[in-house]
């Protein structure tokens, strides 16, 4: 039907043969489909992007923290972007153990010096890299796992005194957030 109609029209115009007309129609068809598809994708984007973190959520991206009251061997937990930040003032023994660990013993090899800005202060995101639980080890009574650092109760991941994964299902070390020392007793996270 369509073919007949287009031929008739083409003949009436006296301008083209069938194949030429078909090519023209194919071009119109495919370019319409392409433009329509691109338009649909662009129209869909706002509906997808609306679920991404909003501006007010992004605005709360940095936290200042006073660490003057933390004694040696103590830890505090702060909140940054809704996640706990572990700040530990490590003992000399903990630092020594962390530094003495050979890189080949680590599932996610990383030297202790690359994980701290001042060796006494360990600042990490306290979220287990397995499935996002909060490891134990911040409070003095907590179980600290087989390597004296942190232990995730959910699926049994053990972290050492540098927050590095040593045993269990977690694939990576506890991540280090972007932070800097404003002065000796204050740090800015984010």
């Amino acid at each position: 039907m369509a073919d007949t109609a287009s031929t008739a029209e083409g003949t009436a115009n006296g301008s083209s043969d069938d194949s030429h007309d078909d090519t023209k129609r194919d071009f119109l068809l495919y370019s319409t489909i392409a433009v329509g598809a691109a338009g649909t994708v662009m129209a869909a984007w706002p509906f997808i992007d609306i679920m991404n973190p909003s501006k007010d959520v992004l605005a709360l991206a940095s936290t200042e923290l006073d660490i003057s009251s933390v004694e040696e061997g103590q830890s505090i937990t702060a909140i940054w972007r809704g996640k706990p930040i572990f700040v530990r003032r490590r003992t000399a023994k903990e630092i020594e153990t962390a530094q003495a660990t050979e890189l080949k013993d680590l599932p996610d090899p990383e030297a202790d010096k690359d994980r701290v800005k001042k060796s006494q202060w360990l600042v990490m995101i306290g979220v287990c890299t397995h499935l996002g639980c909060i490891p134990l080890g911040q409070k003095s009574g907590d179980t600290k796992g087989e390597f004296g650092g942190w232990f995730c109760p959910c699926h049994g991941s053990h972290y050492d005194t540098s927050g590095r994964i040593r045993k269990g299902p977690a694939p990576k070390n506890l991540p280090i957030p972007p932070y800097k020392f404003i002065d000796d007793t204050n740090i800015l996270i984010g």
């Binding site: 973190p53 959520v57 809704g82 499935l131 996002g132 909060i134 959910c154 049994g156 299902p169």
Partner: protein, 426 residues
């Protein structure tokens, strides 16, 4: 089909313009049904009833619930204490979720035992698995809403499963959260989707029934209907049989609702969500436990042992893949099963395999509730291995080598007195 005429002039007037009465007459009154369906065939309609109960109670709960992190927990407690009959509606909704899964698990196992998924009902089965999927996501989303500790940490663990997706994982998780952790945007989103999903399920159930009514119900003998003598109209025999089942079910359901309303729940979910404290044992609701056991069963060094794309697939990814595979494999069950005989009644080897599979999933469920260590982990791993062995190896092989028992001539011959196989019917 010709449109019948109805005696009642109003019915006739409506039916002439919108043949809804005719449709219902065909679907649930005259609908020809195999005469030998036993009580295991009650669970489909029962699941449908529970869906309606869940939508009804859910819409009422939504009238008093507040989806905000600072108010959600308190609004649920207010429903429990101050809202008239709020406790009843919430306990019905809470236990209704468990009832839904009990009914659907029995329904799925019935399909497996009697081979209901075989030609020409493969698509009917597949739509059913989609419904099961949709139910699982609805249940997960709904469990987050009371904003207790298990809500929060369950949601954290499950959403983090998506972080294993190569390259985009992290952005997808942030997109799901609408932030950098489970927080208010997540709760809002989950509430919206939890309200949506039951209607998606409702639509899928409609398609499920459409497929069912195309080739009609299978039956305990697993042989095709040969003629009118093998069938009876759905009403009144099966409407009565279903109604009797509903009565028994309501005793069971309301028994829990009134006398042990928190039996299926976790006490930790009556503690308000705290992003800084993880509960010692994060345990999903009971109906997810077998899959949770599979998730945790894959060894840490799985990738090293098998050497599969270690860059992309970490150990945690292998666990997630195993978990999703355990459900996705069910989609292809109609093709994994090579036996032409449907019912386990005539398949002596498959009969035992089926029950071993049921026991295996129950063991997985128990292991999912235990901490993943020591003997529990070992049993969990063996049970996981058996789960996949059953589906991928045993099911295809047994169909090829099994010597099946002779099938009866027809349903009526098997179930009527004097028939060749009188005892076999229900």
């Amino acid at each position: 089909m010709s449109t019948p005429t109805w005696k009642n002039p109003i019915v006739q007037w409506v039916d002439h313009r919108l043949p809804i009465v005719t449709f219902l007459d065909h679907a649930i009154v005259k609908y020809p049904t195999p005469r030998n369906l036993n009580y295991w065939w009650n669970f489909g309609s029962l699941a449908g009833l529970i869906l309606v109960i869940m939508i009804g109670t859910g819409i009422i709960l939504a009238m008093s619930y507040t989806p905000h992190t600072s108010m959600a927990f308190d609004s649920v407690e207010r429903i429990m204490r101050d809202v008239n009959y709020g406790w009843l509606i919430r306990y019905l909704h809470m236990n209704g979720g468990s009832m839904f899964f009990i009914a659907v698990y029995i329904h799925i196992f019935r399909g497996m035992y009697y081979g209901s998924y075989k030609e020409p009902r493969e698509l009917l089965w597949i739509i059913g698995i989609f419904i099961f999927f949709a139910m699982m996501s609805t249940a997960f989303l709904g469990y987050v809403l009371p904003w207790g500790q298990m809500s929060f940490w369950g949601a954290t663990v499950i959403t983090n499963l998506f972080s294993i997706i190569p390259f985009f994982g992290e952005s997808i998780v942030q997109w799901l959260w609408g932030g950098f952790s489970i927080d208010n945007p997540t709760l809002n989103k989950f509430y919206s989707l939890h309200y949506l999903m039951p209607f998606v399920i409702f639509a899928l159930v409609f398609v499920h029934l459409w497929a069912l009514h195309t080739h009609k119900s299978s039956n305990p003998l697993g042989i095709e209907v040969k003629g009118d003598e093998d069938e009876i109209p759905f009403h009144p025999y099966y409407t009565a049989k279903d109604a009797y089942g509903v009565g028994l079910f309501l005793i069971f359901f309301l028994g829990f609702t009134f006398f042990a309303p928190n039996f299926f729940g976790e006490p930790d979910n009556y503690i308000e969500a705290n992003p800084l404290v993880t509960p010692t044992h994060i345990v999903p609701e009971w109906y997810f436990l077998p899959f949770y056991a599979i998730l945790r069963a894959v060894p840490d060094n799985f990738v090293d042992v098998w050497g599969i794309l270690p860059v992309i697939i970490s150990a945690k990814a292998a666990g997630v893949i195993a978990m999703f595979a355990s459900i996705l494999l069910l989609l292809v069950l109609p093709w994994l099963d090579t036996s032409k005989v449907r019912s386990a009644k005539f398949r002596p080897t498959y009969f035992w395999l089926f029950w071993l599979f049921v026991i295996d999933t129950i063991i997985l469920g128990f292991m999912g509730a235990k901490p993943a260590e020591g003997t529990f982990l070992l049993i969990g791993r063996l049970a996981t291995a058996y789960y996949f062995l059953h589906l991928v190896i045993f099911i295809p092989l047994v169909g090829k080598f099994e010597k099946t028992k002779p099938l009866p001539e027809s349903i009526s011959a098997a179930v009527t007195a004097g028939g060749s196989d009188a005892k076999e019917g229900s």
